[in-house]
Assembly symmetry: C2
Homo-oligomer: 162 residues x 2
DNA sequence: GCGAGATACTTTAAGTCTAAAGTATCTGAC
DNA sequence: GTCAGATACTTTAGACTTAAAGTATCTCGC
């Protein structure tokens, strides 16, 4: 009945899954970063920011929206937006209703530039996942959805405990 | 120009899997980083380096081994090792056989310190994965193994093409 | 109105990270 | 033996990142 429990306690499945997850993320991220640099001389965080704005559409996003969407600190967003404003890819306006807020949007150049990069970016991702068939991908998406919920719950638990 | 109200019905499974993978990695990593900082005032990369050395045992690792194991650049390892030598957690010796190499090992303090952190670190990971049962974890490990191979193959392909 | 606290963002200090160029050492073809 | 190239590592410049402290603005109870 309990013959295998000792083994169960010590096989560290969670830790192994975590390390493997990190390895995959690093491999793919490094490929994407290299491609973006070589092909368009843009960094991954800047591409990511453009991507969030592209998805958001005409109304753009506030600095806080960007910080949450990109899962980085507010201070980090400040610097990235400044850089992209300098490159003419993004424009920024102060909100009239709440003067603390500012709203960030793609310029025409930003929109065109991002849309030019998009297909090749997706091709790199597709290549990285080429070894997985549609069934694998669907199972992976499900498991990651479960993990995402679980990790969020753990995060809240940790904060409430403090 | 067409103002799109929604996405087309191509499902972009790979891209969605990639974004979800990144979200999970960010969530867990941020929890671990926060815990390490609050509890032992150590950063995640330094913990990671100690972890590699702990796994390696008495013989330690060369700078190059560390760079490969941690998937970071060689220059990055130089700085991290210097910091940890300064904290007395790690010691570094020049190889006699090949004077270009150096070998890095945990000090006694480093070994004790790391082993003190280990259980709680694993607890954070276990909590993040708490929503997945053993069967989920095994399937996730399999899918990530497949993804890892696939991503490695894509990386090689990309380099050969260039 | 007014002030206390909340919120949106910026600044700062310190650390992490990369790519590229540089240094020292080794290896192998000859 | 020697030297051209490979290898192990360091240095550098620049970008990213965070946590924490700081500034400006808003909200809400009174």
């Amino acid at each position: 009945m309990d013959r295998e429990r000792g083994h169960e306690d010590s096989d560290h499945l969670q830790l192994r899954a975590w390390l493997r997850l990190l390895t995959c993320a690093n491999l793919i991220e490094s490929r994407v970063r290299g491609g973006l640099r070589e092909t368009w001389n843009i960094t991954l965080p800047r591409f990511d920011l453009l991507s969030q704005l592209h998805r958001a559409g005409e109304d753009g996003l506030t600095m806080g929206d960007l910080s949450r969407a990109m899962m980085v600190s507010a201070g980090n967003v400040t610097g990235l937006v400044e850089a992209l404003v300098g490159e003419g890819l993004v424009r920024r306006t102060t909100s009239a209703a709440d003067r603390r807020q500012s709203r960030v949007r793609l310029t025409q150049a930003g929109k065109r530039g991002f849309e030019a990069m998009l297909p090749e970016h997706e091709r790199w991702i597709d290549e990285a996942f080429a070894g997985l068939d549609r069934n694998d991908l669907k199972r992976l998406l499900e498991l990651l959805a479960k993990l995402k919920q679980s990790a969020k719950a753990a995060e809240r638990g940790g904060k409430e405990a403090a």
